[in-house]
C-alpha cells in the first residue's frame, strides 16, 4: 500500500513537472490581424511597449510626480494638442477659439456630440468643471496642477459646447496650459470635489470590475498593475480620428538588459528609453532605432547664491567663463552618451523649436584661453600645481548624482589642466538637493553639482525658465541664482503676446548663458527602438511613451 502510494506520488510529481515545463516553455496568445481593403495599412493588433524604470504608482493625476502623465494624455481629452509637424497648438476637443481684446478672456468652442467611454456626454461642462475644481483646490488636493491655472479665476459654460476661461490678467501660454489640463469626467469627479478635497486624492481611478477608467481620449486604460504595467485599448467613443491599432500595452522594466532581451526575443514590440550601449546590437539585429534630439540635459550647476560662504571666487563671471572653456563637452557627449548627445548651450533644449535661442553658441574646449582668464585674474598656481584664489587653493567639491561619474572624470581632467581641483561627493537626488540648498535654504555651502535631471517637461518654456527664479528658492531652484532683473523678465514674458514673448525668452536664455548658474553640458537624445513588424510611430523628444503629444500611437500600424 505504502509502496503503491509512493509510486503514485512519483508519477503525479512527474506529471506535474512535465505540465509545468510545458507551461513554462509555451508561447503567448497572438493578437488577431486584419487588413484594410486596399491592403496598404494593416489595422488592429496591440503594440507591446517596454519602458525603462518609471514605475506607475497611481492613475490619479493629482498624486505624486508626473511619471503617469504620458498615460493620462491618452485617456483625457484636452481643448488643444501640440502638433508634431508644425510644433504649434492645433484644435482638439475645442474646434476653434478666440481671445478678448485685453487677453483675459478665452472662449473655446468644443466638439458637439462627444461621449465618454461609458456613454455619458462629454461636453464643455466637463472642461469647465475640471478647471474650476483645480482652481478651487490649488492650494491643497490639486496643487500639482497649480502651475497650469496661474491667474485663472473661473471657467463658465454659456452653452454645453462653449467654455469661457476668465483670467485676472493676460497669460501668454494659455494654450500650453490647457493642453496640460486634461479634461476629467464631471460625473465621476464631481462627488469627490467636496469639503477640503481629500477625496480627490484618495480616489484610486483604476479599472474596476472589468470596466476601464472612464476615458474621453483616443485610448482607454483597461488594466493597471501598480509599478508593473498598463494596458490601453482604443476608445470606440473617441470624438477624433480613431487609432489604427487595437491598443498598446506598457510594461515597466527595472533592468535595461532584460528590456532589450525582451525586444529581441519578440516578447515585446518596442522599447522606449534605450541606453546608448544597446543601440548597435539592436541595429544589427534588424530593429528600427530612432535617436532624435531629446528634451533632456546634463548640467554642471555652479552655486550662484550671494549667501555663498566659502570659495566666493566662483561667483565671478570670469572664473565661470574660464571653467566653461576647460570642459570638453564633445568628449562627454562621445564617451558618456556614445555620441547620442550634443554639446549644449541654453537651458531650453532644441526640440522646443522656436523657444531655443539660436543665437547662443556652445563655448569651445580651449584650455589655453581658460588658463589665460585665470592668470589675468591673478590666481597663480601653488607649489602643488593648484591655483590659489583669495588666499585659498581652488579646490572644490562636486555633488554628483548617479550615472554621471564618467562625465565628472572628464570635467575633472579638464579642470586639472587649469590648476583647479575637484573632488566628487556622490548623493542621491533628494540628498543632493538638500546639500545644495542647505538646511535653511541659504545655498551657502555647495560649490558645484552635476545633474542629469535638467530638461523641459513640455514644449512651452515656462517651467525651465522658472527654475532659476527667486520665488522658487528652496523649492526647485537648484542653483541659488536669484536676480530681480531676471525675475522681472520672467513675470513679463508670462503675459506677453507670442512675438514679444519670444524676444523676452531669448533675453532670459542669454542672461543665464552669460551668468552661468547652469553650464549646460549636453542635450541628450531620446532613443527608442521597435520591431519592423510595426511602423508609423511619432516619437517625441521625451521618448516613445512621452508626454509632449498624443500622436505617438495614433498613426502606428502593422507593417
Amino acid at each position: 500500500m505504502g509502496r503503491r502510494a509512493s509510486t503514485r506520488g512519483r508519477v503525479l510529481v512527474a506529471a506535474i513537472s512535465l505540465a509545468l515545463v510545458a507551461v513554462a516553455c509555451g508561447g503567448g496568445k497572438s493578437t488577431a490581424k486584419k487588413a484594410t481593403p486596399d491592403g496598404t495599412v494593416k489595422q488592429g493588433g496591440v503594440v507591446k511597449v517596454g519602458i525603462s524604470g518609471a514605475p506607475f504608482a497611481s492613475l490619479n493625476k493629482f498624486i505624486g510626480p508626473i511619471g503617469i502623465y504620458p498615460a493620462l494624455i491618452q485617456i483625457y481629452p484636452a481643448l488643444v494638442q501640440l502638433d508634431p509637424k508644425s510644433l504649434d497648438y492645433r484644435p482638439d476637443f475645442a474646434s476653434r477659439w478666440e481671445t478678448s481684446a485685453d487677453g483675459t478672456t478665452w472662449t473655446f468652442h468644443t466638439v458637439p456630440g462627444a461621449k465618454w467611454s461609458d456613454g455619458q456626454p462629454l461636453t464643455a461642462e466637463d472642461a469647465a468643471f475640471t478647471f474650476n475644481m483645480i482652481v478651487q483646490f490649488q492650494k491643497s488636493a490639486t496643487a500639482n496642477y497649480a502651475f497650469a491655472v496661474a491667474k485663472l479665476q473661473t471657467a463658465d459654460t454659456p452653452d454645453p459646447n462653449t467654455v469661457v476661461l476668465h483670467y485676472g490678467s493676460p497669460v501668454s501660454n494659455v494654450l500650453a496650459q490647457v493642453q496640460t489640463l486634461g479634461i476629467l469626467p464631471k460625473h465621476v469627479w464631481e462627488p469627490l470635489a467636496m469639503g477640503d478635497g481629500a477625496a480627490i486624492k484618495a480616489f484610486p481611478n483604476v479599472p474596476e470590475n472589468g470596466q476601464p477608467v472612464v476615458s474621453g481620449g483616443p485610448f482607454m486604460i483597461t488594466d493597471f498593475k501598480k509599478d508593473d504595467s498598463l494596458l490601453f485599448l482604443r476608445n470606440p467613443n473617441y470624438y477624433g480620428q480613431k487609432a489604427l491599432i487595437d491598443g498598446f500595452g506598457v510594461k515597466s522594466y527595472s533592468n535595461q538588459d532584460a528590456m532589450v532581451s525582451a525586444l529581441k526575443s519578440g516578447e515585446i514590440d518596442a522599447i522606449s528609453g534605450v541606453a546608448p550601449t544597446a543601440v548597435d546590437s539592436l541595429k544589427s539585429a534588424g530593429f528600427t532605432v530612432s535617436a532624435i534630439p531629446g528634451f533632456f540635459r546634463s548640467d554642471l550647476i555652479v552655486n550662484s547664491s550671494q549667501n555663498k560662504a566659502k570659495n566666493r571666487e566662483l561667483l565671478d563671471p570670469k572664473v565661470r567663463e574660464a571653467l566653461e572653456y576647460a570642459i570638453d563637452r564633445k568628449e562627454i557627449a562621445q564617451v558618456v552618451s556614445l555620441g547620442f548627445a550634443q554639446p549644449g548651450d541654453s537651458i531650453i533644449t532644441p526640440p522646443s523649436g522656436k523657444w531655443h535661442n539660436p543665437n547662443l553658441k556652445v563655448a569651445g574646449f580651449d584650455v589655453t584661453k581658460a588658463n589665460q582668464l585665470l592668470d589675468d585674474l591673478g590666481y597663480r598656481r601653488g607649489a602643488d600645481g593648484i591655483r590659489v584664489a583669495d588666499g585659498h587653493p581652488m579646490s572644490y567639491e562636486v555633488i554628483l548624482q548617479p550615472t554621471l561619474d564618467r562625465a565628472f572624470q572628464i570635467i575633472q581632467a579638464g579642470f586639472d589642466k587649469l590648476g583647479v581641483k575637484v573632488t566628487p561627493r556622490a548623493l542621491d537626488g533628494a540628498a543632493a538637493f538638500q546639500a545644495q540648498k542647505g538646511p535653511d535654504n541659504k545655498y551657502a555651502d555647495f560649490d558645484f553639482a552635476l545633474s542629469a535631471g535638467g530638461g523641459t517637461p513640455q514644449f512651452d518654456p515656462d517651467f525651465p525658465l522658472s527654475t532659476p527664479t527667486c520665488r522658487v528658492l528652496g523649492i526647485y531652484n537648484t542653483t541659488g541664482y536669484c536676480n530681480p532683473e531676471y525675475d522681472k523678465l520672467y513675470q513679463q514674458q508670462s503675459a506677453l503676446p507670442e512675438t514679444q514673448r519670444l524676444q523676452a525668452v531669448y533675453q532670459m536664455e542669454e542672461m543665464l548663458y552669460n551668468a552661468r548658474p547652469v553650464i549646460v553640458l549636453t542635450y541628450n537624445n531620446a532613443i527608442d527602438a521597435w520591431s519592423n513588424k510595426w511602423t508609423g510611430f511619432v516619437p517625441s523628444g521625451r521618448g516613445l511613451f512621452g508626454q509632449i503629444w498624443i500622436d505617438t500611437f495614433l498613426q502606428a500600424h502593422q507593417s
Binding site: 509545468l20 503567448g28 537626488g429 533628494a430
Partner: protein, 322 residues
C-alpha cells in the same frame, strides 16, 4: 514541553515585543535622519510650484514638530493604521499587501526548491565523502554560493531569452485570456526569478547540512548503529540527519523571513514589483510611511521566524529552555 519550556517561550515572546517597539522607534528616527524629504523630492518635479510644496508639507504633516509626528505615528500604529503612502496616497497596508502578494509566491517557490536541493546535495556530499560526486557537487555548490544573485539572474535571462519571460509578474498584453491562461502566464514569469533564488541560496543550505552531517557521522553512536547492522538508509535518516538538522532549522527560519521581505536584487533584475523594489523606491522617494511600514513588517517577520526557530529548538532539543 514542561513548565520550563513554557517560561522560555513567554520570555522569547516578551523579548520579541520589546524588539518590535525598539525597531518602530529606530525606524522613525532613522529615515528622518536621511538628508532630503519626500516634499523636497516631489516639489522638485517638473511643473512644480510653491503651492505644491506648501500643500504637500501640510498634507504629510511634515510642517509639525518631530515629536508630534512621532506621537501621531504611534497612535496610528496602536490603531492598526500604517499611514498613507506619500507616493500614491493609498494606505501603506494596501501597498504592502500588494507587494507581499507579489513577492511571496516567487520567493517561497525559490526557497522551497533551494532548501530541498540544499538538503539533498549536502546529504549526498557528506554521505559520499571523498568520491568524485562529492568533489563535483561541492565545487558547483561553492561556485553558485559565491556568485552574486544578479549575475546568475542575468545569465539565466540570456540563456532563456525567448523561451521564458524576461521580466514582470505577468504579461499585460493578455486580452480576454482565461483564468488558466493567466495562471500559466504568471507561473512562466515566476520561473526565472525563482530559479535564480534557488540556485544562489541552495549552496548555503548544502554547506551547512554537509558540515553538520559530517560532524554527526563521526559520533560514537553512529559507529554503534553500524555495528548493530542497521541498513545505511536507516542510519542516515533516523540517526544522522535528525541530529544534523538543528543548524539547518536556524538557517531555514532566518530565510523564511526573506520570503516576505523580498530580494531586492533579484526583483530588480526581473522587474518584479515586490517588497524589495517597493522598499528601494520608498528610499528614493523618502516615503516615510511606506518605509516605516515595510521595516515594521520586516522586523515582525524576523522576530516571528526567530521565535518559531526557538520553539522548534525547544522541541527538538530538550536541553534548550530547560
Amino acid at each position: 514541553m514542561g513548565r520550563g519550556s513554557g517560561d522560555y517561550i513567554v520570555k522569547r515572546v516578551a523579548f520579541g515585543l520589546v524588539t518590535v517597539f525598539v525597531a518602530v522607534t529606530v525606524n522613525f528616527v532613522l529615515f528622518r535622519a536621511l538628508p532630503g524629504t519626500a516634499v523636497s523630492n516631489l516639489s522638485q518635479v517638473p511643473r512644480a510650484s510653491p503651492e505644491l510644496k506648501a500643500a504637500l508639507e501640510k498634507e504629510f504633516g511634515l510642517d509639525r514638530p518631530k515629536w508630534q509626528q512621532y506621537g501621531l505615528y504611534l497612535d496610528q500604529l496602536v490603531h492598526g493604521n500604517l499611514g498613507i503612502s506619500y507616493d500614491n496616497q493609498r494606505p501603506v497596508s494596501e501597498n504592502l499587501t500588494g507587494a507581499v502578494r507579489n513577492t511571496v509566491p516567487m520567493a517561497a517557490l525559490g526557497l522551497v526548491v533551494a532548501i530541498a536541493l540544499g538538503i539533498l546535495v549536502g546529504t549526498l556530499s557528506a554521505w559520499r565523502r571523498g568520491t568524485r560526486l562529492e568533489h563535483l557537487s561541492s565545487a558547483i555548490t561553492v561556485t553558485l554560493f559565491s556568485v552574486p544573485a544578479q549575475w546568475v539572474g542575468l545569465i539565466l535571462l540570456i540563456v532563456f531569452a525567448g523561451v521564458l519571460p524576461s521580466g514582470g509578474i505577468r504579461s499585460p498584453f493578455l486580452i480576454g485570456a482565461t483564468s488558466w491562461g493567466r495562471l500559466t502566464d504568471e507561473f512562466r514569469h515566476m520561473v526565472l526569478p525563482s530559479l535564480t533564488l534557488a540556485l544562489t541560496l541552495y549552496g548555503g543550505y548544502a554547506l551547512v547540512v554537509r558540515s553538520a552531517l559530517l560532524e554527526t557521522l563521526g559520533e560514537d553512536y553512529m559507529l554503534t548503529a553500524r555495528a548493530k547492522g542497521l541498513p545505511p538508509r536507516t542510519i542516515l535518516r533516523t540517526h544522522a540527519l535528525r541530529n544534523a538538522m538543528l543548524p539547518t532549522i536556524t538557517m531555514i527560519a532566518l530565510s523564511a523571513g526573506r520570503i516576505v521581505t523580498g530580494y531586492i536584487l533579484v526583483e530588480t533584475v526581473f522587474s518584479w514589483p515586490g517588497v524589495g523594489r517597493a522598499i528601494y523606491q520608498a528610499v528614493l522617494q523618502r516615503d516615510y510611511p511606506m518605509l516605516q511600514g515595510a521595516f515594521l513588517l520586516l522586523t515582525v517577520t524576523v522576530v516571528l521566524c526567530n521565535l518559531a526557530a526557538d520553539v522548534a529548538y525547544a522541541r527538538l532539543d530538550p536541553r534548550v529552555g530547560g
